[in-house]
Amino acid sequence: MDEKTKSGIIHDILKSVKLNNGFYVWMAFLTVSLVFCLTAYYQQLTTGLGVTGLRDYISWGMYISNFVFFVASSLIGMLISSVLGLTGQKWVTPITRMAEIIAFAFAAVAGLVIVSDMGRPERLLNVFLYGRFQSPILWDVTVVTTYVMISLLLFIVPMVPDLAIAYNNRSDLPKWQRLLYKLLSLNWIGSEEQKALLHKAVRILLILVIPVALAIHTVTSWLFAVTPRAGWNSTIFGPYFVTGAFVTGVASVIIAMYVFRKIYHLQEYIKDIHFDKIGKLLVLVSLVYLYFNINEFLVPGYKMPKHEAVTLHSLFSGGHAIMFWFVQLAGLIIPIFLLLLKKFRKPTPLLIIGLFVFVGAWLKRYLIVIPTQEHPFLPIQNVPESYTFYQPTFTEICITLASFILVLIIVSVLAKVFPLIPIQETIDERNNKTESHEE
């Protein structure tokens, strides 16, 4: 590859890292929205969880379903970088960093979402001081923390050569940004020794992240599955959650790919072929998830065990039916059929389908968490009417929105300050391609 193309790639990818007015406006908007939503949290903190729709029977509501969703979305880092990367899928190169950013942002905020569900968040430390080894809550807190750390490393470590490139090529950047690059590029000079060490570190991380990512969502599913309740009392909850997570995560990446390609003008790096490939990936993970959904609903629905029938009926034909069938059809089955056709795997149709899948996936978590609690085995009695169903309040919705805003802030900052497309890998890959052509 000639020198011009190489510098061209560096120039293209590093074009976005300078903070511009558009970014400031966007961040100002996000910050104002966040502050507004945080006043709702202040209200909850000072008044107590009574400001939410949570009551004695339905004590896990929007916060916990949102937490499950966030953990699910964070699994995508593992799928893209690790599973596909390690199996030699070259097309994932331009989207690996994006996937890692999404994984880190969702995982980091997932921890905060749990705190928002606590009436007395200052007692969080007690989970570590007095947590029982037997409690999935302790496992969950442990594994989320570990996963956040690994995701952060998986974001930074493969970026080390790129940061050196950015430091050397963009002397016009503000001092703090150059200092950041210098610090994180770890004196990278690209010597063979350094390359070998970096390769080793990345390899180990890519392998380590697989069991940890599986653990993070399996443990999240166990928070439900270890309780013998209708709808949660299932042996396939672990894989059911993990496969569902891939669906959510792929949809998040599709949205991010579309948006960043548009605003950073990355058409040359994120091409239609990438959308086509990730569209196929979405079909694959959706089919697996559909398989688990059929297992999860057809089998109990066939037996209709007496005490679980109420919950199942509320999903199939009762109060939650509209949401349930929307999630199954618009969030899963219709996307599968559409994505089998090539023309729907083009960027814009794929984005629309991705948005449906994303919303469907969020609602899906809501349907996993809430209906079960509305139908406990022992009848709900002698409580005010409002205790018998769950209705999220405005405060709750604001706090949930705050968590999404926080994810957007983290994603926006990381995707702005750091090169979004891996530079070194792109150059290496194009070199290899040219070499193999020349041979």
Partner: protein, 297 residues
């Protein structure tokens, strides 16, 4: 299929029976019963405590429509229909019970029931209390005659009932025997009546286990005229059947406290955490090496 059909028939018959329930008639001799104590703020307060513990789950909070949805519907204590009852009628209905309304004569003391009545009367502005005569039976006391060896040999408990003031035997008193178990008092024999010398004998079951040292807490209750009971003897007797209770919380288990977590679980948890974070720190060490290698050049 057939059995469920029969069940439905029975349930629907039961339903019509319950709906067609006759009015609750209180015997004339019990109707006029009056509280042996003057209702006061004190009795109302105690009554409210008992009401909130015992009655509220079905009758709801007086004046609020939160009664349990049962057939027949439990009445709101603040309602006119409810307050129409005489004090004696209340007392009879609470002690005896009918259908879904349980009998409280073995659960509550006579005073407790009167306190509850005194509390629910606060929701009737027109109510004026008539106080009855003080309970004449309060001076009666009992004495366990049987000794340990006697008890073990023949499985009998002999009781003598005497008037406390003059130590004279009391004839014709109805007594019942109970033993304390984990969740309340277990009736042991049928009701016995004291004879001419104030004595009576209960059969004591020979296979009733005691605690770790064989102790059994027994009590003897005397039936009051109002249908309730009053404890006149409450004592510990020694038996030879010792009970070594196996406590599920003694061993390591999933449901136990942290210090009693299963070893395999603690090893798995700590092992996984150490392994994962060990690798993370190893990665950080590699990164430091990369940094050092670059600095040398």
């Amino acid at each position: 299929m057939k059995s469920s059909f029969i069940l439905i028939v029975i349930l629907s018959l039961l339903g019509t029976y319950v709906k067609a329930q006759t009015p609750w008639v209180v015997p004339d001799d019990r109707k006029g019963l009056l509280a042996p104590l003057k209702f006061s703020d004190e009795t109302r307060k105690l009554g409210q405590e008992v009401f909130n513990k015992t009655c509220v789950s079905c009758h709801g909070h007086p004046g609020q429509p939160d009664q349990a949805k049962l057939v027949p519907a439990p009445k709101d204590p603040a309602s006119k229909e409810y307050q129409q009852n005489l004090d004696g009628e209340f007392f009879y209905k609470i002690t005896e019970g009918r259908g879904l309304m349980p009998s409280f004569k073995k659960m509550l003391k006579s005073e407790d029931i009167w306190n509850v009545i005194s509390y629910v009367r606060t929701f009737n502005k027109e109510y004026v209390q008539k106080v009855g005569a003080a309970d004449s039976s309060s001076g009666i006391t009992g004495k366990l005659l049987s000794k340990l060896d006697y008890l073990i040999k023949d499985n009998k408990i002999e009781v003598k009932v005497i008037q406390q003031s003059n130590k004279m035997p009391v004839i014709g008193v109805k007594l019942s025997l109970y033993a304390k178990r984990n969740f309340g008092w277990l009736p042991l024999d049928e009701m016995r009546i004291s004879n001419a010398s104030g004595k009576l004998t209960f059969n004591y079951p020979k296979d009733l286990p005691g605690d770790k040292v064989g102790d059994v807490n027994i009590k003897v209750n005397m039936a009051n005229a109002d249908g309730t009971e009053r404890t006149i003897i409450d004592t510990i007797i020694k038996t030879e059947i010792k009970c070594s209770q196996y406590n599920l919380l003694d061993n390591r288990a999933m449901w136990n406290v942290r210090s009693k977590a299963p070893i395999w679980l603690m090893l798995s948890y700590c092992g996984s955490v150490l392994a994962a974070w060990g690798v993370i720190f190893y990665i950080i060490w590699i990164l430091l090496q990369i940094r050092n290698k670059g600095a040398k050049v």
